[in-house]
Subunit: 337 residues, 2 copies
């Protein structure tokens, strides 16, 4: 916390205390609730208790600030992932834009599905289908050109059912968890199967997570010296798929420390949660369970997107925290502007 912010926080706390009808501790904790979108209950208590334990120097579970690493999946954990992964919508729009240069796509999957508007066929292709679309539509330009393309798309495109920008389809309660952890000395990271360069242009503004704390899937790049400068060209070749067993590998590569808290929503996050809880240090694992068909979507063991089956069993076996979106969250998305 910088000094002007700290002074502001102290002033606002003084103000609240001055207005408080009584000086008892319960009131103070109420006015300083840092997870206001979470209903009171076991889930919220488990998050608060874990943070209390690792930040209290007198507690045997105390963890020094530098080691307070928290990793978050993105799709389905920080923002929504229905009716399709959002990056797939981006790839679809790119396919349509580039199709005139690729007449052969009319007869080949997954391109045919895109051009026919057959979302079911696309969803059936799963992450592998997304990768093929990514290879064809996210490469052949510099990293800086791609950043601009992704930024322009996010600035101008709306989610198909809500009509809101994709960057507003984020979970308000999870934004609060990110802020709460950072206020308690945690460094927050994204570790997602989504494209690392698709996420980095906007994660700082939306989540407070800077590009260097975003880990994701990648294509290969090549360094080129050109007239008047140098660039990295995006090549149509897979670099790294950041999913399942690869998530702990990527965490070690990018961060070099074992997280003490990991947040996910699908079987693709299972190994990351096992890694965060797999040593002698304190470890917290949380799964967001999509059980709210009314305010969001309800899906788990039978879904192709955000498939949650084995990780749900493991969560029960190990006592991990499972969030019921329906019961634990007072609101799902941030209020519209």
């Amino acid at each position: 916390m910088n000094i002007p912010k700290m002074i502001a926080a102290m002033l606002s706390l003084t103000f609240l205390l001055a207005c408080s009808p009584s000086g008892d501790g319960s009131h103070i904790s109420e006015v300083t609730d840092q997870l206001p979108s979470w209903n009171d209950g076991d889930t919220k208590k488990q998050i608060l208790d874990f943070v209390d334990r690792v930040t209290d120097p007198a507690n045997p579970d105390f963890v020094p600030e530098a080691q307070r690493i928290a990793t978050f999946d993105n799709d389905g954990t920080l923002w929504a992932e229905q009716p399709l992964y959002f990056q797939l919508f981006f790839a679809i729009d790119r396919v349509k834009e580039l199709a005139p240069e690729h007449p052969e796509w009319a007869e080949h999957q997954p391109f045919k599905a895109v051009l026919d508007g057959d979302l079911e066929a696309l969803a059936a292709g799963g992450k592998r289908g997304l990768l093929e679309l990514v290879m064809a539509t996210h490469t052949g330009m510099t990293t800086e050109e791609f950043e601009q393309i992704a930024t322009d798309w996010l600035d101008t495109t709306k989610h198909p059912t809500s009509g809101r920008p994709f960057t507003e389809m984020v979970y308000q309660p999870m934004l609060e968890v990110l802020d709460y952890l950072r206020a308690n000395g945690f460094k927050t990271y994204i570790v997602s199967a989504g494209g690392i360069e698709f996420m980095r242009p906007w994660t700082e503004e939306v989540y407070g997570i800077p590009p260097e704390q975003v880990v994701g899937s990648s294509i290969k790049t090549a360094f080129e010296v050109q007239e008047g400068g140098s660039v990295l060209m995006r090549l149509p070749e897979i670099g790294f798929i950041d999913d399942k067993e690869a998530k702990p590998v990527a965490i070690n590569s990018h961060i070099g420390r074992r997280p003490i808290a990991a947040f996910g929503n699908s079987d693709g996050d299972l190994q990351m949660l096992q890694y965060a809880t797999g040593s002698d240090q304190p470890g917290f694992a949380l799964l967001v369970h999509h059980d709210d068909a009314e305010r969001e979507w309800a899906y788990d063991r039978d879904s192709k997107i955000g498939h949650l089956d084995k990780a749900l069993d493991e969560a029960e076996a190990h006592g991990w925290t499972v969030v019921s979106m329906r019961d634990d969250w007072r609101m799902v998305f941030p209020p519209a502007d």
Copy 2:
């Protein structure tokens, strides 16, 4: 800067000013010299001028704090690399320790050179030879076990000619540059061909650079769930060689921003320096030239270790900053305790 440190700095400045024989600005700038081990001259001025330009909001070259990324090579730039890369000494000691289990090593290079104590044959093997030794001696254990092995070795082993711990064979003037940049809002990274997990255990203590800001060469790892926990096993397979064209690629992968300042000493750093200076944003490139046979070592175009040839020509062509260790540095290594 945290608050106790800031208060201490303010107090010490007050103390210095109180003792000052005159109140003129030149004296103040002398007492607050943040690069005291650098002789006054063009080189030092170029560093100070660049930082002044990018941190002054009124200057057209101003760069917002979040984008102030500085990348440093390690071997030969932050610590010495003679008579062999230090990690090679580590690998040599590992070969000797493991040799009884590998009778075949007596007849095969580079292992034979190690066991015969033939440093010249080893040096001739260059980085490729180091990699073979690394494959054989740095793998087959968990990442956490390897960290302990590397830490124990550094704690107990001395440099063969100076007799000092390897972590004291660091360049005092470069430690000051690291501190000076961070005090001016830069985020400092290591981007080295050295092993990422060989560096991470000690870079925070020695350089003030935490593990998550260390980028290097790596072997592959595999996630394993074991009885009572989970680990990453180090596999005898190259993951990434972080040298030459691969340095900008690794910077993009780990940091996701183009550095505005890059520091190196060999042709292996050329592309990183081209990357830092290859866009419209302000860019600073610096080469440490080892020309001080008396206090350190003198080597450049003909050396196998720290080979500096093409990058020296490019530095001249583009007006990059070239440090003469002999002329620009008041001292090379920190004073011994």
